[in-house]
Symmetry: C2
Subunit: 264 residues, 2 copies
Amino acid sequence: MARFSFNQATAKFWPLPELVAGCAEAGVPAVGLWREPVAEHGLARSAALVREAGLSVSSLCRGGFFGADDWLEDNRRALDEAAELGAPALVLVCGGLFGRDLDTARSRVAAGLEALAPYALDVGVRLAVEPMHPMFCADRSVVTTLDAALALAAPFPPEAVGIALDTYHVWWDERVWSLLAGAGPRIACFQLADWILPLPADVLVGRGLPGTGHIEFPRFLAGVAAAGYTGPIEVEVFNAELWQRPGREILHETIRAYRACSPS
Amino acid sequence: MARFSFNQATAKFWPLPELVAGCAEAGVPAVGLWREPVAEHGLARSAALVREAGLSVSSLCRGGFFGADDWLEDNRRALDEAAELGAPALVLVCGGLFGRDLDTARSRVAAGLEALAPYALDVGVRLAVEPMHPMFCADRSVVTTLDAALALAAPFPPEAVGIALDTYHVWWDERVWSLLAGAGPRIACFQLADWILPLPADVLVGRGLPGTGHIEFPRFLAGVAAAGYTGPIEVEVFNAELWQRPGREILHETIRAYRACSPS
């Protein structure tokens, strides 16, 4: 499990101290954290908690939403938080359409990265542009493909701007395999979640643990390895039913799912 | 309204004879038909009904589903039906994943087109490969982008294999505008539906009339015109709430929506 990271969103209702203790006890080396539960527990206290438990933080979710009024301060604050937690990457959900003008919404993302990149380098945290599934284009992210995320990152040094690759969002795209080949140095965060059917009423929370759905995980893991990525592999699953179970149970089921599909 | 076509699926529960009479009375020149309601009314009777009303048939939905056991006979039958109705195009929903092997599912589509193209030329009906929104990749169509649909069509003469362009399925893709530029001769069917939020529990039936959602219709209409397409413009909206209203009301609301966004 050297490369496994348990993303906190997979056990949404598990309090941070219990999650950290549970992960440490299970031999999990890293966690992916979210800003809201970290803020709730206190930023400095959260940072101390994970450090003292011997865990590393593989990523912080999330910045982005470049259409919001306070996007600049909020993203700078998010970078500060990531730095304090020791997270090497801040995952960016870039924001939806706000109207009908896709080109404008997309150029807003490019401008946002330009404004943030120097600060990201200063604090030593990479901005990780997450391509999201096209079904979220209107309301969450106008960045819908790996291709587009790589193009947004391209003008910047890889240590300033990378991408967050989540299997759930990109699995349907036949260009992924060829794009991945050159994308190794840009992968700042790699997350696993499966596409399961039927989609629930709220499509945000209908993801599956790896192996329960339609995605070819061995192919993704091989593609990412061939690209030269050797970093953490997070499992991040938004699933309303899974969330109802005790945190420890979710963790152990996630570890089982990870082991079944991860490189031996 | 010279180019307007009312797709039958927009008023799903309106019996065919009433729909045809309503369209003729409203000065609608064309309809898009579906195989099931046509079969219910009788193929020959349906063909006579539309012909006698002076309507043309812009497309027949649908063939495809190349993973089904009887795909070959069924698609040949669908081409026969389109020919009898005078529909120039058979829309193909190419079928989902059936498992986890996307490449195999996609090569099945290519093989299906190869098997059907000669017969399509014989009966004078174009196969229209419909790229569908990536959220349908696992269960309805592994063809998820305009790019992929054009690549599947490319080996065949345009009069055998074209594409069905539905705004709802492709609007999120930034490559659409450049791809459209060269796609004019391949456009066998052009359909309008809007992306509205929130997505309903059944994402299949949550589309909006043009102008009610997030899609830039003027841009699509201009792009398709610049590509040289001068054929029918169908409005095809799957919307569970809209379907509850009387057919005549749906038709008139659709005409209003079409007029508000169509070329003057």
